[in-house]
Point group: none
Chain length 403, copies 2
């Protein structure tokens, strides 16, 4: 049996508190020369103290060799098997613009694209039009009328990216992408992949046809490509599974959306990083699990900016005492995936992590928090989804199994 | 879900190349006194350089405490769960003598044995008769006529060991061993374990009866014991599972046979170890995964010869630059199982392994390739079958999972 099912069975609600501090994309590779990663190069006395007083390890978000998207990475952090609950691109985009997706809604990510006179795609991203142009076009598309009894929502993400949501009775989400991922060919027709989705396909096809008429005069964004049709997955909440009462402090909509999917309470985003500690304290009442998400490490990794990634770590380090000021029984600091600076993209490398819980976490002799130091940590290398079990145990939230 | 199923789903065919260099039975135990293993004692600048530039770890071929045979060890190396695909002794013996086993053929390993006047087994190995005597007896047994529509093949392995293959329509492979593993009792009768194998049992029983008549005058090898009846397992190929185009460079038939079972192309064996690099280069066209199998480490382990095992490592090390000369994006060096010198046999100890892939594999600070140094490696301790996933990721053959 999966040991996490034992955790579910033995979980006990207590007043003890867990802080899960996630630095998105934190994991990195040693650079040539001095062998430093942004994390190992950072001056971070507070993180190093937690590592020294607690234990470290490395964690596979999905499994060895598997590069996770943001969805799977966060499911792992929250104790879920990312291969068991897949979250479609459309759903992730919808929650990523803070759209209040309901059960049965069908969401798809779309790109504005450029079509030539023959109707073939010449640019899948419509020359990466600026976001305000996207907003202008989305306002036009919102005038498209759905069939009676249904609703259509069109939302801007950024640049050429947006989300389409269909709401109404009896929808199915098994629709094929209309984005062939190729140029020189027309968009694929809207096509249902099962009988239950045939009606949805009709609604979406009518929308796309009308959208193409509306966009016909545009120089760049005269077409649309849709992909990742999906509905909200049915995920048991962290409350149901682990008897936790979780709250999410995050600045970015996608992570707040992911937190909502597992039943977290999600207050409005803090104004900036400096406002995170205040938000943690303000929303602690009634909660025993605080998920704090810092996006900027990942952004620096995606930009290939070693120095900025290092600086974000240092900034988070300075905030750490205030983030912990309310008092926690167990603190986890880790990442949802690695975003190595030389890759400028997510990677499969296990993420470094530390677990601090005085007198409870095994003090393993690791005295600094880095990818390299974590290799020798007491937590070893394990699936990311099991890290929450160690934290819950340290916080006294897992009863003895068996007599 | 097993993460390897994610690897299957996300696998992409690319031009990048992986070299899997297997030193059979490489893993060993530190000896008394200086604590060296043959691997750690070897002078091996090239292997040490790969370890220093890449990352190391230890790998369980089947699982902790489980001593694998050659079949399970290699299935693990090739990314298969050895507990999911069992390869019977008969099939392993058949492929081990390069017999072109077809679907539906039933193969059994046999021993020549010694029977007393009462028909009881007195020596299960017929005094380990020399191989040329085996060849002489096999020639006699080949005169036995199968029933119409069927074929019988009798093949020498070595000493007292051989293989019987039955070919024809509608055979079943569920036959009980006739080798009771005891002396002082007669061989067990040929017995079908299911209805589908009843016809096969009749054919084999008739063969054995006639063989015993033919062998009756022999001083030592006057009987036969059969075990490990099996047919070719249905194993999805590495091409199907991982979109790899694998080729096998191996000197020993059993390993070429195992490679064929997972769909590898298997050119003729190189004349000797010195000919391996040339063979790798010669057969690279059209392939992106090269499995190189070196047997001699295992043979030295089986002989309990520390010095010879060390020397084989050094010889392989000298060949390494030439083996890699064609250019590889990821190189794995590891073993199918441990064969510790003091054991003179396979053991359950995890095997050491290294993964080299500049800029892609995490450089973990391990600077030498040995069982001891691998304990501190970034790959940690993991199931052997997941090592291929790490190599595929380094070679850019695994797409991101999830949005």
């Amino acid at each position: 049996m999966d040991p996490m099912l034992v955790i579910e069975r033995q979980a006990e609600q207590t007043d003890s508190r867990i802080l899960l501090l996630v630095m998105d994309g934190l994991g990195d590779l040693p650079r040539e020369g001095d062998g430093h990663t942004p994390l190992s190069a950072a001056t971070k006395p507070n993180l190093d103290r937690l590592a020294a007083e607690g234990c470290c390890g490395r964690f596979d978000p999905v499994g060895p060799g598997i590069t996770p998207g943001s969805g799977p990475g966060h499911l792992g952090l929250f104790g879920y098997d990312p291969t068991e609950y897949e979250i479609g691109r459309g759903v992730l985009s919808a929650v990523g613009v803070d759209f209040p997706l309901g059960d049965g809604d069908v969401a798809a990510r779309f790109n504005f694209c450029t079509l030539d006179a023959a109707g073939n795609v010449t640019d899948r991203r419509a020359g990466r039009i600026p976001t305000d142009e996207n907003v202008r076009l989305v306002a036009k598309l919102r005038e498209i009328k759905p069939p009676a009894g249904f609703e259509l929502f069109v939302e801007t993400e950024s640049e050429h990216r947006g989300v389409l949501i269909v709401r109404g009775p009896g929808l199915g989400a098994r629709l094929a992408d209309t984005d062939s991922q190729h140029t020189g060919v027309p968009p694929l027709p809207v096509r249902a992949l099962d009988a239950a989705s045939a009606g949805t396909a009709q609604i979406v096809a009518a929308f796309v046809a009308q959208a193409h008429r509306i966009l016909a005069g545009e120089a760049k964004a005269n077409g649309m490509l849709l992909r990742g049709f999906d509905s909200l997955p049915s995920i048991p909440s962290m409350q149901q599974r682990f008897r936790l009462r979780p709250v999410c402090i995050a600045g970015y909509p996608m992570y707040r959306g992911l937190a909502r999917l597992v039943g977290m309470e999600v207050p409005p985003p803090p104004a900036d990083l400096q406002a995170f500690p205040g938000a943690v304290t303000a929303h602690l009442a009634g909660h025993d699990f605080v998920f704090v998400h810092v996006k900027y490490t990942d952004k620096a990794g995606e930009d290939g900016d070693f120095e900025r990634k290092r600086q974000v770590v240092e900034e988070v380090d300075r905030l750490l005492p205030d983030l912990m000021a309310a008092g926690f029984d167990a603190v986890v600091v880790t990442a949802d995936h690695s975003t190595p600076v030389p890759f400028k993209a997510h990677s499969w490398h296990p993420v470094p992590g530390l677990l601090w819980s005085p007198g409870r976490a095994f003090r393993d002799g690791v005295t600094t928090f880095s990818e390299q130091a974590c290799i020798g940590g007491a937590l070893g290398r394990m699936p990311l989804r099991q890290l929450i079990a160690e934290a819950m145990a340290c916080a006294g939230k897992v009863a003895k199994f068996g007599a």
